[in-house]
Assembly symmetry: C2
Homo-oligomer: 344 residues x 2
């Protein structure tokens, strides 16, 4: 094999044609005689020639590279979204590169959000996952996105607030949470707590909203103490539930918990065990995202399959299609052993 530092000039020279003709046989577009085509292809194959993506980019003005912004890949959930997106991008001839959210909106302590400078002029589009951001951060995100959208198409994914006016693939978080409450009510629970999420937000598609609807539907009394706010890590879930236990007399402890996600659910399991509660007899817990480890916890964690890999793929497809639609993803319960009937 010939070393592939070859350029289109080398190929043209060896095939005895112009570079324009080589370009034509390469792209398959223009009309080329069968003989010329065959000759060109032979030389191309012999050299194992591949056109420089960079030079092609000069004319096409495209990088064939997409950006994706995720809170953090270390939550395996986001790894699934990224995997789905990555595979789909590859299938459509694009590379995809990951950026941390903090590159977009900065740290909570920083005054100015740092520019997404690296991405500047290097990306054909951007998928941004909007989730669990405190209001201040959401404002920042909004203004950064507003600027970025001048340069490239943007698609939003996750629990996208309705006031973000972008093409999006969104969870129906409120609906999902309402139905989760209703599932637990069906099991006989009346003291249902929810751990995780943020409170102060104008959006209607929040867990909060669905939770309240569910409680109202079941005609249960609303107890503010059954709402705990935290981010989506096991540590924070554990701390939040511990605090709830500490603030309530045992007779008022919740008998069922809706966790923000499986990580929070894991933390809650740990907190419950520390208090000597038996799972699920004394406390039912339902997670969300159906992480690969959910079936291996004790008890095996009941969760919700939010089809994250599909979500990532859909986002890339939407981005590349150029359509401006907003879609809601499907989800389904995955019943395991961590939720039981309430027995007083």
């Amino acid at each position: 094999m010939i070393h592939s530092g070859s350029t289109i000039y080398d190929i043209a020279a060896e095939a005895g044609v112009s570079i324009a003709t080589v370009s034509r046989v390469l792209r398959g577009g223009g009309s080329v005689s069968a003989a010329t085509k065959a000759r060109g292809e032979a030389v191309i194959a012999r050299h194992n020639y591949h056109p420089s993506a960079i030079a092609q980019g000069m004319t096409s003005k495209k990088t064939y590279t997409l950006g994706m912004i995720l809170p953090k890949l270390l939550n395996p959930n986001y790894a699934m979204i990224f995997t789905g997106a990555n595979d789909e991008a590859r299938r459509q001839g694009h590379l995809i590169s990951l950026f941390p959210m903090r590159g977009l909106i900065g740290d909570e302590t920083e005054a100015e959000p740092p520019a997404l400078s690296l991405a500047n002029r290097r990306l054909d589009g951007l998928v941004v996952c909007v989730e669990y951001l405190p209001p201040r951060q959401k404002e920042r995100l909004q203004s950064t996105l507003k600027e970025l959208r001048q340069y490239m198409p943007i698609v939003l994914i996750g629990c996208v607030p309705s006031y973000f006016d972008y093409p999006a693939i969104s969870y129906s978080m409120a609906d999902m949470t309402r139905k989760t409450v209703s599932y637990l009510v069906g099991l006989g629970h009346e003291r249902i707590a929810m751990i995780g999420g943020t409170q102060e937000d104008q959006d209607e598609n929040r867990r909060d909203v669905g939770y309240l609807e569910g409680i109202r539907e079941a005609q249960l009394p609303y107890t503010a103490s059954y709402r705990a706010f935290c981010r989506g890590t096991a540590e924070e879930g554990e701390t939040a539930l511990e605090a709830m236990f500490a603030s309530l007399l045992p007779a008022y402890w919740p008998t069922a918990i809706i966790a923000l996600n499986d990580l929070v659910a894991m933390g809650c399991m740990a907190a419950a065990r520390k208090r000597g509660l038996r799972l699920p007899q004394d406390l039912s817990i339902i997670g969300c995202d159906n992480l690969y480890c959910a079936p291996y916890l004790s008890p095996a964690l009941t969760s919700i399959d939010t089809r994250q890999q599909e979500l990532g793929a859909k986002a890339v497809r939407l981005l590349l299609s150029g359509e401006k639609t907003r879609e809601t993803t499907q989800w389904e319960f995955v019943f395991r052993d961590s939720c039981a009937k309430y027995k007083p």
Copy 2:
């Protein structure tokens, strides 16, 4: 803000200088008078101008994009490697894009490994994770790498066989396994099984080799039945241990298990529970990789911190440095509750 379709020509015109001068103030290299510099910078800032990475690539012949090949991101372990690599690449001004291993070596059923065609001419370097590949696949990988290395620098990571002659950041897998055996022997175990990995390989840095050394050092009899081969998923771990139980009289069941990784360990826990074994009293299990969920399993899983995020960062650093060294990573035990003293 002015829309940033601006080119270097726009900036030059507005600043009243040549594009060469703009380029100089942009790159900070050449000598520019203070006044010219200030003027140029002002215009650049006003336009929010960023040079086109593509055009810059035309002259530099670089894409500032790296490739990374991982078995699959869905194992959270690889997500950590990728995160470490991604952050480091970003820090050094590079994008990084992920490719699946099958793009390099094909499926086990395919005759020809598909080209890494997309990567062709689009990558400045490649990090490849070599792990748990069956011999046939390793051969393929070797020949593909040999071809690829003509075009870009390559760094290998993972459990890299010594006969792969590339710069690498490698685990000392044999050593780690030997010490793991020795830890379990110290706990009084004599029937120590190992679940996971492949058998047929020439390399000396295998778990196998370390396992045998450990057994020999402790002067324990070697029992072939205590070796089970499988890949690194929970399902395969579960199946492998079930098969081991089924093939042995209970009196000969192992009292301790070294699992390939935490996923396999999770599978083993499930298999043990099905047989009614109490963990860790009846069976000790040690995993590897110290996944975020390890502390939340019951019992909390004793594991090995292999510093995956650091591994990813180191690999990128090595790749970008151009050095040809081979480094071995550090690791350490993370003691939790899944390993107990053996009590006959």
